[in-house]
């Protein structure tokens, strides 16, 4: 790692954007790319192994898989989309949740230690190329083209002078902002979190090896790094949950009868 080498020098170089773009492992394959592929193998293998022999009374492993499935199915999809329509969207919401979750958690696993979602391309692919078309597609299908545009941009009961202001805002939000904020939210959280961890870890390392009196402050930096790791763990799970929750929320809003 370039920063490590630099940090070991006389002058401390703060970690930055460059630490997120490490040289490829081999060929053109970078670390996040390999991790992404690894994540889908892990999730796929976990669920296939768990569902191979399902029993009415679950064992420990099945219970764990069911808990994850129920979180995506009942807590997120059914709550946000409604008991009537949620069934077809369960696989999508579950995929979103587990996909983001595992890729976020890579940031904590030793050696791996890199949250894939801190590269904006990955969350953007999910939000703009999957969630965005899906919720608008089901909305247009449910309400018709004009009906859906009206449904999404004109809250019922609003007077005409408010609508003049509201229609552009709602349109901009629903058709431009929503998918972008969805991706940026998880990207920014992962990026900032990883950066914070880097700062404290590398600073601790620098203080420890630079010699002199600064050695006594080094443990403080490491303690902060550890505390932040726990905070990161919470944020990683939370961001995955929020991503899935909002995806389901957009689908539910597009399908809802009333605004």
């Amino acid at each position: 790692m370039t920063t490590m080498v630099l940090a070991a020098g006389d002058e401390f170089v703060a970690p930055g954007v460059k630490d997120f773009f490490l040289p490829p492992i081999f060929g053109e394959v970078t670390k996040p790319m390999a991790l992404l592929v690894l994540s889908i193998i892990i999730i796929g293998a976990f669920f296939i192994a768990a569902t191979r022999n399902l029993k009415l009374v679950p064992g420990k492993f099945q219970f764990a898989a069911e808990s994850v499935y129920d979180l995506g199915r009942n807590s997120i999809a059914r709550e946000q989309i409604g008991a009537k329509d949620f069934k077809p969207f369960v696989p999508l919401i579950l995929t979103v949740f587990t996909f983001i979750l595992v890729n976020n958690l890579f940031g904590l696993i030793p050696i791996v230690q890199f949250p894939t979602m801190s590269h904006i391309g990955f969350p953007l692919a999910v939000s703009v190329l999957v969630i965005y078309p899906v919720y608008h597609f089901v909305g247009f299908k449910r309400h018709g083209f004009v009906g859906y545009l009206k449904h999404q941009t004109m809250p019922p009961g609003a007077p005409w002078y408010v609508l003049i202001l509201l229609i552009p805002i709602e349109f901009f939000q629903k058709f431009v902002l929503n998918p972008l904020t969805l991706a940026i939210r998880v990207f920014a959280a992962m990026f900032a979190g990883h950066l914070l961890l880097l700062v404290f870890t590398l600073a601790g390392e620098y203080l420890l090896f630079s010699g002199g009196i600064t050695v006594i402050v080094a443990p403080i930096a490491f303690a902060f790094a550890i505390a932040l790791t726990f905070l990161e763990a919470l944020i990683m799970v939370l961001q995955a949950y929020i991503f899935a929750l909002l995806s389901a929320n957009y689908i539910g809003a597009a399908l809802a009868e009333e605004h």
Binding site: G16, V17, F21, L56, P91, I120, A125
Partner: protein
């Protein structure tokens, strides 16, 4: 990849997505989505449906059993009430019948006693008449006998007196002779 080269030159903007990453992200996501949709969700949903069916079946069965028990209880209660009414009716009947029997028996007994008394009286009457008749005959005979004896004794008096003296004398002889011996 030029972005990587740029990265080393610190001229990279992390907010701008890389095309390769978008493509890989989309492909991976869709692959995972396909696996979950094809294998995971249907299995779980089948399991949930089975579980729900089993639980609902159990509840239904329990409800059925409860309904049956309730029905049996109602039936039992109805039967009990009926049996109680029947018993009360039988008791009333029995009391009435008993009273009837007692009065009947009483009249019958009274009749019987009256009959026995009457019979006794007639019997007594007959016996008395018989005795009276008997006594009347006897009395006549006795009177005649008595009269006969009174008249006869006076006639035989002399003879008897003589006979008595003779009997006394002979008795005296009989007793003194063994003493002398």
């Amino acid at each position: 990849m030029n972005t990587l080269i740029l990265a080393q030159e610190e001229a990279i903007n992390p907010v701008l997505p890389h095309t390769s990453e978008i493509i890989l992200g989309l492909v991976s996501f869709l692959l995972l989505f396909f696996v979950i949709k094809k294998f995971v969700t249907p299995r779980f949903e089948t399991l949930y449906a089975e579980r729900a069916a089993k639980i609902e079946g159990g509840i239904e069965k329990a409800e059925q059993a409860q309904a049956q028990a309730q029905q049996a209880l109602d039936e039992y209660r109805a039967q009990l009430a009926e049996a109680r009414a029947e018993a009360a009716r039988i008791r009333d009947d029995a009391r009435i019948e008993g009273e009837q029997i007692i009065t009947e028996l009483r009249t019958k007994a009274q009749e019987e006693s009256a009959r026995i008394i009457a019979q006794g009286q007639t019997q007594l009457e007959t016996q008395r008449a018989q005795i009276v008749a008997e006594l009347r005959g006897e009395l006549g005979r006795l009177a005649i006998d008595l009269a006969d004896r009174v008249v006869g004794e006076s006639l035989e008096d002399e003879v008897r007196r003589r006979g008595t003296v003779d009997r006394f004398l002979s008795e005296l002889d009989g007793t003194s002779a063994p003493v002398a011996k």
